[in-house]
């Protein structure tokens, strides 16, 4: 910030290096060790989950490495096997390999958690923009509808949706999108409203220019940070909801090895072998924790006002 002043009347500034917002945010993010650790765990988990699905056959990579079997392959003679080289996390009641099931489950949890955020962004973003941009009765309708949505606890509404669509991966996926868009819509609506109040937008409206372009142009850079943070925190919430539904027997159904399903199965046989719930339980908790850390890190990095 040092300033050099030239001769009379001439002002010279050492303009501080224009580190972009994103570069700056990355520097701040990297300083948060927990967030970086969370990111590493997530990336690792994504790679492993992809490996479990590739190449083509379930449990593929691991089968090729001769480490584990396929997640669906049963071997009843070898149920509740203790961890070994062949089965690093042991086997379940049907002799299915636990590690490959957990990795397969990771692909389900991560897909639901991450991909559903795009659905939420689509629904919440467009409804929030419409409400903020048009205002009036559309806005009023949205806010009243939010009131009704808030009368349902999230999990309850997802349960009702999933019950309505029938238990499957896709019905959970759509139910999550239909329930969790509300917060994002309110956020985007608020951003649009505050941009609408800016003088240059008012001036544009008065001169007859369509303010829509202007708003979109200013909306994106202004709200990208908070939107990303909100969506990131949405990931562990979605992962939790899927696991909870499957655990309650209303979500993904066996033999598909979702973490929730594995915990439900393992809980049924908890007296025989507690490992059946411990490993998938740790997997869910670790994934959610990692996303929470990343979310905390992103929030601190992207929102300088919240920094500390």
């Amino acid at each position: 910030m040092a300033t050099a002043i030239g001769l009379a009347g001439q002002v010279d500034w050492d303009v501080p290096e224009q580190t972009g917002l994103w570069k700056d945010a990355w520097v701040r993010f990297r300083r948060n060790r927990l967030a970086v650790a969370g990111l590493v765990v997530i990336v690792l988990m994504i790679v492993l989950a992809l490996g479990a699905r590739l190449p083509t056959a379930p449990g593929g990579l691991w089968r090729i490495l001769h480490l584990t079997n396929e997640p669906f392959l049963q071997d009843v003679t070898n149920s509740y096997a203790t961890p070994s080289l062949q089965h690093p996390l042991g086997t379940d009641i049907l002799g299915r390999d636990q590690l490959s099931r957990i990795l397969y489950g990771a692909s389900i949890s991560l897909t639901i958690g991450i991909v559903v955020q795009f659905l939420i962004l689509g629904i919440g973003g467009s409804i929030g923009m419409a409400a903020g941009y048009f205002g009036g009765w559309i806005d009023n309708l949205l806010m009243r509808f939010t009131d009704i949505m808030y009368a349902f606890p999230d999990l309850l509404l997802v349960l009702v949706f999933v019950a309505a669509f029938g238990p499957s991966f896709w019905s959970i996926f759509i139910a999550l999108g239909l329930v969790y868009w509300v917060g994002l819509a309110r956020l985007v609506r608020g951003q649009v409203l505050s941009i609408k109040e800016k003088e240059y937008v008012e001036a544009a409206i008065m001169t007859g220019t369509s303010p829509l372009k202007l708003i979109v142009k200013h909306l994106v850079p202004n709200s990208l940070g908070p939107v990303i943070v909100t969506l990131t925190f949405g990931i562990p919430a979605a992962i939790f909801t899927e696991a909870a539904l499957s655990f309650l027997g209303i979500g993904i159904r066996p033999p598909e090895p979702s973490w929730g399903v594995m915990i439900e199965d393992g809980y049924a046989g908890i007296f025989a072998d507690p490992r059946q719930v411990i490993f998938p339980g740790i997997a869910v908790a670790l994934t959610m924790l990692s996303f929470t850390f990343v979310g905390d890190g992103l929030r601190d990095a992207l929102d300088p006002r919240m920094r500390r």
């Binding site: 806010m143 009704i148 309850l156 349960l159 009702v160 411990i278 869910v284 924790l289």
Partner: protein, 346 residues
């Protein structure tokens, strides 16, 4: 009508109710009446959404695992419970019943009124929820305040670490781990002489039974962590406020600065969080009661979803929505008394 000042979660009644006259002194009463009236349309739409979704669902309450009922039996059942009528007629009949506090009969438990089912299971859920709530609020606030006052100390890091871990561990995982450690593990360790029981809740009204310990921790871990994190950040914010510096500059004793100036302000946002906390206790009861085989409303709701017991689903959903609306109203009214800046305005 809305409540102003520093209350992000606040939602007022809609403008179409603004014709109701207001006067000084009666503002609060009128506000409460308006909010109560606004609950009627909210509950109506809750019924609409749930009703439509339930009837969209594939399958019917008469589906059985294994041997299916004969089509003739199904038809007779449909006629008996009015499911043969057009959807809109069923809806009108249902709403008419609800207005008269008649929530219909359970489809899967013949001869059982939904209201009776709720009355039987309610005490379990209430006892579990009340014990959890009474413990979680002071513990959460206490942890948050201590962590904030000792910012960056070992206490702070421990509390924050615990809270973060609890906030991102699903409650069913917490519950199962508790069972593994305190039921299975202790059973093994003590040779079966001492361990925490896992099943049920023998007496629905007794808040001091040992069977409640693990369910309460399972249900309370996450909201406690939520309250603790919120309290901590709110207290840290308040500690940096100018008026706290004023309080120090007056020469107040540290205890008075903290209680009168810091906490009196920093706990205001925590009150707002009690609404979401309550909602969480409800959804948490689905999982906790299923996990520990407690025959409360949460488990009733979950099993009725699985069994497509439409009337029970609708009845419990209405109950949950009503409770949440009432709690939010109580929190908003409480706010008026806690924060003198909040004014109920038109």
């Amino acid at each position: 009508m809305s409540v102003t000042a520093g209350a992000p979660f606040r939602r007022g009644a809609p403008s179409f109710l603004s014709w109701i006259p207001t006067g000084r002194g009666t503002t609060l009463t009128i506000y409460i009446v308006k909010r109560l009236l606004w609950m009627i349309p909210v509950l109506f739409f809750v019924i609409v959404i749930t009703f439509v979704l339930m009837h969209l669902a594939p399958g019917s309450p008469w589906d059985r695992e294994g041997r299916q009922l004969s089509p003739q039996v199904v038809e007779n059942l449909n006629i008996k419970y009015g499911l043969d009528k057009p959807l809109w007629q069923q809806f009108v009949i249902y709403v008419w019943g609800v207005i008269h506090f008649d929530f219909g009969d359970s489809l899967r438990q013949p001869g059982q009124h939904v209201s009776d089912l709720i009355l039987v299971s309610w005490p379990y859920t209430f006892t579990l929820g009340a014990v959890t709530f009474i413990l979680l609020v002071p513990i959460g606030i206490g942890l948050g305040v201590i962590a904030a006052l000792r910012q960056n100390s070992l206490v702070d890091y421990t509390a924050l670490g615990l809270a973060t871990a609890a906030a991102s561990t699903p409650n069913f995982v917490v519950g199962i781990f508790l069972i593994i450690i305190f039921a299975l593990g202790m059973n093994k360790l003590t040779g079966g002489t001492f361990y925490f029981p896992t099943g049920g809740m023998p007496s629905p009204f007794n808040p001091f039974q040992v069977e409640l310990i693990m369910p309460v921790i399972t249900l309370g871990a996450l909201p406690t962590a939520y309250i603790a994190r919120l309290t901590r950040s709110s207290t840290l914010d308040t500690l940096r406020q100018d008026f706290v510096r004023t309080a120090w500059a007056k020469g107040l004793k540290a205890r008075l600065v903290v209680v009168r100036h810091v906490l009196k302000n920093s706990l205001i946002p925590v009150v707002t969080a009690l609404g979401p906390t309550f909602a969480f206790l409800i959804t948490g009861s689905f999982i906790t009661e299923t996990l520990f085989s407690i025959p409360g409303i949460g488990r009733t709701f979950v099993s009725s979803i699985a069994a497509r017991d439409y009337t029970v689903i609708l009845g419990t959903t209405i109950l949950f929505a009503l409770l949440i609306a009432l709690v939010n109203l109580v929190v908003d009214v409480l706010y008026v008394f806690i924060d003198p800046r909040v004014r109920l305005t038109e």
